[in-house]
Every structure is written in C-alpha cells, then in structure tokens.
Amino acid sequence: MTLPILPTTVVGSYSMPGWLERLKTEFYARRISRRDLDEIHDTAVKAAIKDQEIAGVDIISDGELRRDNMIDYFAERLPGVQIDHASKKFHYDFYDSKVLGKLPLAPLGLVEDFKFLRANTDRATKFCVTGPHSLSKRIRNEYYPSEEEFAMDLARVMNPELRAIAKAGAQFIQIDEPNYSGFPDDLPWGVKALNLLVEGVEAKIAVHICYGNRYGKPSWEGSYRYLFPGILDAKVHQLTLEFARRGGEDLELFRELPAKFELGVGVIDVKTQAIETPDLVAERIRKALAVIPAERLFVLPDCGCLHLPREVAFGKLCAMVGGARLVRKELKG
C-alpha cells in the first residue's frame, strides 16, 4: 500500500463513547451477555474505523474500543495471569492481576481483532500492543525473581502472537511503552524485552513512548533525554513520541537520530479539548522537519484519543490531516 509523504496515523485508541462505557460496565454487572458485548464492540470499532477514514487518516487502528484499558486486554489473555474479577468496579479500572508461576505459551487471540480491522477497511492499518515493560509494572509479579525477568518472559510468550499478527497481514505494529518515562532507569532492560518481543516479527515496528495518558492526564513529566543512548539499541523502525503538549524543545534531541529510525511526531495534544487548527499542526510538522527529513517523519497525535469526546477527537484528526496536507503541498513546491 502506497503511503503519501508525511503519512498520518493514530497512536491507537479512539474516543470512548459514553454509551459504550456504560454498556461495558453493564457487562461487569452481569446485566448484558458476552455475546451482546462482542456485537456492541464490533459496531463501535466499525464506527471508529469510519471516523478515521472520513477524517482522512492514512494508517488507521481499530480504536482499541474492545479494550478496557491498556493492561487488562492483555492480562486477561495471558495464560498464567490470575485475575480477581471482583476488583473492577468501572470498566476502566485495572483488574487486580498477578502472576504466580511461569507463564505458559498459548495463543492470545489478538489475531482475530486484527483480522476484524483488516476486513473493515481498505486503508493501511496499525495494530497496537502494550509492551512487556509496561505490563510488568502493572501485573503483580509473585513468581519471577525480578521485574526484568518477568518482562522478558512476557516478551517470550507474546512474541508468537505478534508473529501471527504479522502473518495475518499486519504491516505496521506499534508497541506501547509509556512506562519507560516513569522509570527511566529501567530503560536498558526495557529495551531488551522489547527486542525479544519483536524478534522475527515481519512488520514495521514502532515503539510509542509518551508521558502517560491515564484518565487523560500525564503520569510523569520530564525530558526525552533519558532515552539516549539506550533507545538506540531498540530493534524497531520507528519511535513515536509526544511533542504537541510538551512543546517541541525535546525535538532537538532527535536531530542526530540514526537513519535506521523513523520518527512519529505527536502534533495533536490529546489532553485538552481545544481543537488545533491545520495551520498550528503544519507549524508543528515544520518544526519537526527541521530536525528529521520528511521521508522519515510520520504525523500523529501525542497519544490515544480515548479520553476525548468523539466530536473533539474527530476534529483533532481532521486538523492533523489538514496540517499534513498543507506541509505536503509546500514540500512539492
């Protein structure tokens, strides 16, 4: 699939409608069935796909609307992770989950969700997976001697699923590792686990590193300076980072980014409801172009649009696409 220069994409999640939140919570209250919830999810995902298509996004996701949050979707599927189902009051809460023994290998069922996305759009697609570092920070480890060993084993059991997703046609897979920013000292082993996770996965791999977006607010603050030099060991093709909310100062750090890396630049602040103008987006893209050539630059929001109202999320995606088009015109001269 041919992409334009400065391809636009999303980080993964799309606006979670209030009605879907309520229905998910109804499911936990046992007032609707799993079968009905699955059908509701299918419908919501189709709507998210359509919104991204109408907005003109080049590489789209399923909006992650099946996921309660970035952890539980995986924790529930990982054999060997024990879940206290009574621990969730609201769908967005994290389960109390723990691991008591060595994780066994088994399919996780992510391929089906990717196939649903693939079947419902002609656009290029992206499938997002929470990385082992972030999972190891939330699933309680009561077996492995260290977080590092737990994360490495998570990577080992998730790797075959990623290979299967690629085999099913995924050309672009994004690994989400926001917790790197909260625990910068973990970066060396975080990257090791990341490399094991994506080993042999035949797709373009991006790693998304932000400063958190839980409840639509940052979990940490700081500078991406901590990523260097550790991140350069990552066997990925693209770094996808947050720049719109935090200002573009950190962009300078990526001026010397080796040519093997592309840069996904966040140009949409997902933590405010103010919709950017295409001009503002274009300005942010131009700033990024000052440090990285256009052929290695991808355009996307800072993070997922989960916490934004639908009309705001849609407006922001439209502005992002509009801004990218403005700059493409300039580049064509």
């Binding site: 409840y215 607010k217 940052p218 979990s219 940490w220 603050e221 933590k271």
Partner: protein, 482 residues
C-alpha cells in the same frame, strides 16, 4: 405519615416530637387537616445549627407536576431550634393552609421565581458580601473570621500548616532525587482570606528548607488566588517577607483553569480552605424511589417586609427592585450609603427560601453538576438511604474538575472544609445552607466528590481535622489513581 428526625439533640427532639404529633392529630380531629393530607405527610425535624438561616420555624415543601397529585409527597420541615412553646400549632396550620397559595405568605415579598438554589438571588448576596467585605465589616464592626466557629479559621492552625509543608517538602525531595523536579516549583492557594495561611506556609517552608539545606525556597512560585481583588490586596501584608516569590491572581474558584491555563499540569500543590462550602450549590431529594430537584424561591416574610419598608422609606412593592439595584451596584447606589448598608443587612437577615420538589423526569434539561451523569448519580444512590435529601455540591464539583488539570502529575490537592462523607450523615443532622455573616455556608457532598475524582484520575480521601478538638472540618486530599 412519616415522621423523620434528622438530628441527635435528644431532649429538644423528644419534647418537640410529642408536640408535633399532638398538634397534627388535633388538627385532624378538628377537620383542619384532611385524612388524605395527613396520610401523605412527611414531617422532618431538623435542628439548624446556623442561627441565621433560610428557614422559618415551620415550612412546607410540595412536589409539583405529579400526574396523580394525591400520591405526591408533601413535606413539612420543622426547625426544632426555632420552636417556641405554644407556637407550633399556628405555625403548622399556617404552613399547611398556605401551601397552595402563590406566595409563601400573604403580603410577604417574593424576590425571585422558583429555580435551582445555585441560581438563586441568595448567591448574589453572597457575591456582594465578598466584593464589599470591608463595607460589611465596617458596618457591623467585626471581621469576617470572627463569624467562624471558634472565631478563627482552622486553616491557620500552625500544626496543620507544618504538616502540609512537611508533606510537600517530602514530595519535592522525592521528585528531585528522581531528577524530575521542575526548575520552578509552583504552589497555589485559592481563597486566601487575610493571607494568614499563605504567610505561615511560606515561613514554615523557608525554615524547613533552611534546616535541611535543600535550597528549594528560591525556586518556589507561590500563587495567591482569589476572586476578589480587595481580598488579594488585604493578603499582601501577611506574605510581605516573601513577596518576591508571590503572585496575586484574580481567579474564579469555579474555574481556576480559565486564568491559569498556562500552568496546566505544572502546579505541585493546590490548597483551598472554606471555599467549597461557599460555592453555588443545589439539592436533590429521593422520595419513594424517585429523584427530585429541590427548587427554591427567595422571599422576605411579611413582618420583616413591613419593617424594612418603614426603615428604608420604600414601599414593600419596591423591595425587589431595590434588592436588584443593591446587587448590581452595591450599597452606594441606594439613596445613601449608610441606608444602603442597613437595607442590605436587613434584607439578608430576613430572607427565607420557599422550596418545592420537581421530579427529574419533569426536568429533561436539568444540568447535573460537572462530571456527574444521572446514571452515575443513581448508581451512587444505590448505597444511600432510600429517602435522602442531599447536596449536589455543583460548585464544588465544578471547581474540582477545573482545578485538578492544573496539578503536576505528582502534585496533590488539599481542601479543608466541611464534608459529608457518607449519605447516612444527611439523616443525622442539618448540613446547610446557612448564613455565616453575609455569606452562605453549605456542607459539601464528599461522596460525589469522590466519584467525580475517580473519573478524573484521582482517589479522593478525607481525614478529620485533628488539630483542634471539636473541629467539624476535614481535609480532603488527592492521590493519583492508578
């Protein structure tokens, strides 16, 4: 008939209950009260701790727009503190018979139509008080802090301030050790009063920083925020030793973000004292499983209206218009300033609120407080007593929602105020509104704050204020929700 005793003042309650029951049966026997009326009566006995409040000794609250009127609840509220021996019968009779009248009492003066309390003219008086505090104080001859229980604010308790500073120092030390401490360390105090707490806080922080040799003090950026410029000016002397670190910001406590958007996610500590209890509010009631909005209209009772009319040399009919002029332009805009101040005080003192219940089903456009949806409210109420009347704390919820986005990811909010932290508390005492000098005081619904906080990504906790024995305030503090 349901008789509901909402307080624990045993002796007063016992004698009043007997008198109420005797009176109602007597009225029934005399035919003054119909059986059907008697059957659907709910009599609430409250002991209103605020000497100045919005209730008469006996008042009635009726539900409106009921398709089957005979089934709608009819409530009589009795303030056991105001009951005087022998007067109850006449008061109940008056209330029951005037219940369907257009005005609360013959020749009383209505100041507005029925509306949500948060939109009531009462809040206009509250605003005027804070904007013209100096005038009020001059006229009454006492400072506003003297009106507080104990005559001073708990906010200024040195022990509480020292603990707050200690917690804050620990937080920034931790951030520093992780190399995550911003160069500028922002702290915000909303509702500064005389600036006493801000001064104490800064003194203590400087001392602690000096003792521990951490050199954070010069990096502090202390913002004093208040919606009254006059109050900000009055707070300056209290922080005079720290002026180079202080900024004085006029802001609306309902939406601090409006003026401080540039500090989104940057403030490490935000503190408010006795602000939430003074923000516009409204009440809801659940009766027989149905949710009602409590609507109010302000009025001046007839005897007071007559007196004010004579003292102010205006007719009773002119009172509403004169009140509007007062609220728009202040006491100076009335004939002369002294008379204006006297008129203000007298109307405020006399003002009462008539109430009615309107089913939420009849109010399809009802705006619930920020961050609270009806489904959520109903979910919360599943844990509450079946018949309960409670504050929506709209202003407090709005303020909270518009304050937490200013917090740094590791920052925390502290609110010292009077909180109801469990719906059962509403059945054990009166929680406002009351009048505190020229302002309104209302307890804050901590249960709803907790719910709204969760959705905003914060766990909200309440700790009793243990620094002063007998204090009824608590400290709300937030922690990041995982």
């Amino acid at each position: 008939m349901i008789l509901q005793l909402n307080h624990l003042q045993k002796k007063i309650a016992a004698s009043t209950i007997q008198e109420v029951v005797d009176t109602l049966y007597a009225l029934l026997e005399e035919g003054q009260l119909e059986q059907e009326q008697f059957a659907r009566l709910r009599v609430h006995l409250d002991w209103i701790q605020y000497r100045q409040n919005f209730r008469e000794c006996v008042s009635a609250t009726k539900a409106t727009s009921e398709p089957q009127k005979q089934r709608s609840p009819m409530e009589v509220h009795i303030d056991t503190r105001q009951v005087t021996p022998g007067a109850l019968r006449d008061e109940i009779l008056r209330t029951m018979t005037s219940c369907d009248a257009p005005a609360p009492r013959q020749e009383g003066v209505l100041l507005e139509d029925f509306r949500s309390f948060r939109e009531s003219i009462a809040w206009g008086f509250n605003r005027l008080y804070w904007h013209r505090l100096a005038d009020w104080e001059q006229f009454t001859g006492r400072g506003y802090e003297q009106a507080l229980p104990g005559g001073k604010s708990d906010a200024n308790h040195p022990g509480a301030v020292a603990d707050c500073v200690g917690d804050f120092w620990t937080l920034i030390r931790d951030l520093d050790s992780r190399k995550q401490l911003p160069e500028e360390i922002f702290v915000l105090e909303i509702g500064v009063g005389m600036g006493t707490r801000a001064g104490l806080w800064l003194d203590r922080f400087r001392a602690l920083d000096g003792e521990r040799g951490t050199k954070y003090y010069p990096r502090l950026r202390f913002l004093l925020g208040d919606y009254s410029l006059a109050t900000l000016e009055r707070s300056r002397p209290a922080v005079k030793e720290h002026l180079e670190l202080c900024s004085f910001v006029v802001l609306d406590a309902l939406n601090p973000l409006k003026n401080l958007a540039f500090l989104r996610h940057k403030i490490l500590h935000i503190h408010l004292t006795n602000v939430y209890d003074n923000l516009p509010d409204e009440e809801f009631a659940r009766r027989d499983g149905k949710l009602y909005a409590v609507q109010v209209r302000a009025y001046v009772p007839p005897a007071d209206a007559q007196r004010i009319s004579q003292e102010s040399k205006i007719s009773t009919a002119e009172i509403p218009r004169t009140v509007n002029r007062l609220l728009e332009g202040g006491p100076d805009y009335l004939a002369d300033r002294q008379r204006g101040l006297a008129f203000w005080q007298e109307v405020w003192k006399a003002m009462r609120l008539e109430e009615r219940l309107v089913s939420l089903e009849d109010l399809p456009d009802v705006v619930l407080p920020s961050g609270l949806h009806q489904e959520k409210l109903e979910e919360v109420l599943q844990e509450a007593p079946s018949d309960v009347r409670f504050h929506a704390s709209s202003g407090a919820l709005e303020s909270f929602q518009n304050t937490v986005p200013l917090l740094h990811p590791r920052g925390f909010l502290q609110v010292q105020d009077i909180f109801v932290t469990n719906f059962n508390e509403y059945r054990l005492g009166f929680h406002g509104p009351g009048k505190l000098d020229g302002s309104i005081v209302n307890w804050v619904n901590g249960v709803l704050l907790r719910e709204v906080g969760e959705r905003a990504g914060y766990d909200v906790h309440f700790a009793p204020f243990h620094y002063r024995k007998g204090s009824r305030t608590s400290i709300l503090y937030t922690t990041q929700r995982e």
